[in-house]
Assembly symmetry: C3
Homo-oligomer: 370 residues x 3
Amino acid sequence: MSQSLVPEIASAHSPGDVDASTEARPRDLRTVKADPNYWYPVAWSRELKRGKTIGTRYAGHPIALVRPMDGTVFALEDRCAHRQVPLSKGQVEGEAVKCCYHGWAYGRSGRCIDVPYLGKGKLPNGVKTYPCREVEGLIFIFPGDPDLAESVPLPSLSRAADPGYKTRRFGERVKCHYSFMHENLMDMNHQFMHSKQMGKMKPRFLGGRDEPRLVEARYSFARTGGKQPWGEALVFGERRGTNAKDQHRDVMTIRTTYPYQTLSIATGDEPPVMDLFIVYVPQDEEQLTCRVFGMLSIKRPKLKGALELAWPLFVGFTNRIFAEDREIVELEQQAWNAQGGDRNQEVFPVINTLRDLLRRCGIQADASDA
Amino acid sequence: MSQSLVPEIASAHSPGDVDASTEARPRDLRTVKADPNYWYPVAWSRELKRGKTIGTRYAGHPIALVRPMDGTVFALEDRCAHRQVPLSKGQVEGEAVKCCYHGWAYGRSGRCIDVPYLGKGKLPNGVKTYPCREVEGLIFIFPGDPDLAESVPLPSLSRAADPGYKTRRFGERVKCHYSFMHENLMDMNHQFMHSKQMGKMKPRFLGGRDEPRLVEARYSFARTGGKQPWGEALVFGERRGTNAKDQHRDVMTIRTTYPYQTLSIATGDEPPVMDLFIVYVPQDEEQLTCRVFGMLSIKRPKLKGALELAWPLFVGFTNRIFAEDREIVELEQQAWNAQGGDRNQEVFPVINTLRDLLRRCGIQADASDA
Amino acid sequence: MSQSLVPEIASAHSPGDVDASTEARPRDLRTVKADPNYWYPVAWSRELKRGKTIGTRYAGHPIALVRPMDGTVFALEDRCAHRQVPLSKGQVEGEAVKCCYHGWAYGRSGRCIDVPYLGKGKLPNGVKTYPCREVEGLIFIFPGDPDLAESVPLPSLSRAADPGYKTRRFGERVKCHYSFMHENLMDMNHQFMHSKQMGKMKPRFLGGRDEPRLVEARYSFARTGGKQPWGEALVFGERRGTNAKDQHRDVMTIRTTYPYQTLSIATGDEPPVMDLFIVYVPQDEEQLTCRVFGMLSIKRPKLKGALELAWPLFVGFTNRIFAEDREIVELEQQAWNAQGGDRNQEVFPVINTLRDLLRRCGIQADASDA
């Protein structure tokens, strides 16, 4: 990847370009499905009480999560084998969930273990299951080939378990393809959009990395106007001004390690002052909506309690920024819908590199739709 | 039909089955249209005041019901021949309805009898009419071939006219194919779903009947837990407990007499304590929504006034049960939509018999869509 | 065009007619697109403050209107060339608008004049512009071939600039094809619909004109019942009763001068007491919704201040009439949608002439869809 500070316009994909052959034209990124052979979070632990079941979904597949009174969470296809109604409307009894309609019961393995009005020897087939893990307040499933689940590691949730950090868990549904989210975070030139929240910041692209499953971009910033917001001072544990010594002092590193994304801010060789893990889980079959699961860890300052006191302010600050991001990516998706395809004219090389990664790592099965 | 208490699993239609030939595979029941050559209710009498017109519909066909100041109700296609706007927005004058837009007038025969700005000799064609009857508070139309209307009897509304019974008229729109409603009521194993309202009841299938236009199922019940609800005690005129003498004492008979459905509860040879007439009228052209017209008759107890006093409680009780039924059948329809077809794995023979009836009696015109 | 008071039924287009050949059948008017080579209003001047930008649309095309602090309004395609998000969400700086997302800037010519993180020599292509004019409180664009804009005149806004008149600017979105609006206003037999607001009025068709780009209809009226409404008395500056001298005294002239429409009421050779300019601008690509821009001018009476005093009453009166019109044309559109085409059975020759005009002057590009 180019390490130059001024990206090469030559690498931009212009919508007016006519490729020599149809085969050479890259597939529209917004039609690329996420690779299901990874662990994806589908719920926060706090959403699922003991002895209860809730419904969630991955890319159009309804999933019932079940937490028995004793034992670990498990995940079933959220359709009773009988009449296809959601098992997540049912009752948990022991390690089984009973469908609310006629009481068919399913165990952890998905096998139907009881139909109240049928002999035990005659039980019908059960339902599909998903490998399921719970870690640091997140419930993950493996939507792809179950045989691969063991060999695919869970993502590192960075500082979520580190007592030196305080972590905010956040997220909501966003009406866009997950790729818009990756591009939004990776391109720090969009700081322009947050100038009302952040003041005027001039980003400097420091370089990046381009690996088979990873794209990285590093930036530093200079404040060119406006006051540093409270939220940012909180992150750094001290104020940053517009004086020369504070300019380009901290390095922000953004990484898409497929299919996850991280962002950290560090000064010199010190541990990061902020560390974000975030993932955008496709909701509908077309994957044009996603649910965000984000874990934002802030290094605790020396002054005990300061972070707790300021936390509500910090939550409001990050919420306002995320609301701006959400509005713009949903407008991008709406434009894609209205235009019937991707007309983006990207001029920033790192974003084109990221797009290639998402295209390469995703699923392009029905290429005939391209 | 099997009279055994344990239904044969062998007769279940498993979604994994591969038929030897395409022709042998039964058509997806949810794509079968109701036979229009029956009388269908389209409104309650109380909805249509004298000298007024209202709009209703049958399977996508808009229908204007007109009640002149004098004379019986009649039914017209609810589109002015001129500009297709609803005649039900118009004014009733004598035995005619005038379109609200330019004042075109139509009589009981559907003929256009006046265009205010045209000579009488030049009147354009009129609109379609439907045979129409009003009985026991229900307005019926015959949506099929009008020449058949005379020879097809109105359904018996059982106890609605019997002073020994008090009748509740109820119903609402439900977003599902009418067949889900028939199956819901016929399969009493779904008592499981109402255990919050009804306590725990174990149904026993006593047998049934299978005729060209009729399917019947008979059940008795044993209370295995919970207290008898007020609403049920009201129906029986006395309390039923969990003691042996009360178990399996009453017989519930559910019948689909195409296209109608009835449910009655009787003890021994006495007249039924409860009698329900219900019908599910397709609303949209695809027939994936329906409007319910139900008449629920309760035998008046010896103690005069007790039923009137308890009526509000009874209405609340039945409303809660119906709300549970509505939620589940709408979830079934949603699953059908999402899965693009019927994946039900029915194991209860009487329900498969009912499904065959609904398939056989309905309209399968465009079989190519199957 | 026939000048007879009784229109010829023979000229009605009956939906039952079978044309000798497919080519002879007129295209469904509701699929005819408006000709873009005219000036169309897209916003009221008061909606766009100095130094601001707003988004509007013409037939599915999003348009950003920009009013610099100094200088005239200009119109750009409302999609940033970079990521297609609306420029109307951006900031106006001098004579340029900066996209809210990454700060790309565009001038009046649509050229991209700055990308904050790119060298000036490498700027990407800009966005499309539209010829734009502002007159009498309306902002017009020319959505068709820009080279034709100079030679196509703006419409006359009749009395909007005349101090002898007071003008109401009004309009809203209506969910129908623009042709329903033209037909509604041109056919005064629909006075029937407004009889609650207007009393009973019998229209007399006095004749009309049929020219390549113009259709006109003239009417007089006799009051056959009800009292003259306040609003109408206000228009005439005096009361009209049901006595003979007041009948058929005033002439109403309605004209579609493609693509605009006007309505004026005058007594003898005096200047009109009322003058309406109105246009129905397609909103969506299918042109099945429109936005109304209406300018309704009332001649000021000799008694100064009377019109101002009565104005709120007049606004309420016209709003009620317009609400009735809107409901009925939206019902026409709904019928067209449900029936999958135009089943109108028009018997009034002037309306058929108008339909021919709208078909002839509109765009029938994709005739294969007819």
